[in-house]
Symmetry: C2
Subunit: 149 residues, 2 copies
């Protein structure tokens, strides 16, 4: 398996995400553990509420972002340690939506004295059907530099 290190990333490279269908069952199950509020966990109560039905916990949408960015960007990177995750929730995510999107590398800072590099990126999750942005993430992580041969 090929392995990528900090210096293998290039500012401006864009990574396309796969697809993640959001089901009512998944939305309710995630929220029962991590965000137990009726707008996320109770379809009957939520149908009379401001959104007309359950919407996903923002943390659920952020976790889906993570699943998609791991698949698209991190699969062949070892030793990553996440540092900052700045998320802007832009629109409610509803059952039946399919989330997809992209990430772009915005900054690569190599630190040879530490043997690592800092990678920053911006990602967007969109509702596939409408193309509307539901989440914007600016994040960074520390990656290893390639070990000396």
């Amino acid at each position: 398996m090929s392995v990528r290190y900090a210096e293998d990333f290039v500012v401006g490279t864009e990574y396309r995400f796969g697809r993640w269908p959001m089901t009512e069952d998944d939305i309710v199950a995630f929220a029962k553990t991590f965000d137990p509020q009726p707008m996320h966990t109770d379809p009957e109560a939520a149908s009379a509420g401001q959104w007309g039905g359950v919407i996903a916990s923002g943390l659920h949408t952020m976790a889906v972002y993570q699943a998609l960015v791991v698949e698209a960007v991190w699969a062949d990177v070892v030793g990553k340690a996440g540092r900052n995750v700045n998320a802007r929730l832009r629109r409610p995510v509803r059952p039946g939506m399919v989330l997809t999107g992209k990430a772009m590398i915005t900054e690569v800072t190599l630190r040879p004295e530490k043997g690592d590099g800092i990678l920053a990126w911006r990602a967007e999750l969109v509702d596939e059907a409408s193309g509307e942005v539901v989440l914007i993430v600016d994040a960074d992580a520390v990656l290893y530099l390639r070990p000396a041969a």
Copy 2:
């Protein structure tokens, strides 16, 4: 049930969180769905890695933050819509840790013309045993104002 609205929050109020034990099973299960990297999902491979065992996905730690803040702050608030979640992952979270912490209201901006208010807060999650901070979150949300009687 009493219900709280935007104008019921006061800058400087501190909310203490409950306790959330982090188990290896939960760490692996969360990561298999949302962050499938060996440092989170494979205890054997991770034991030879940089952390000496699995560590929680940063998104898992953030989801635990959400569970604790919902319990401590949002239980009697209706109509909240999260906007921004800015998370700084400070230390690895390991199986056996118990996470707890607190949140403090940092800003309350009422918008009578829109019938809502924006609430901002800072939260910290700490490892209960050591007191070390593992996560800092700055976040905000839109809340309803109290309806006219």
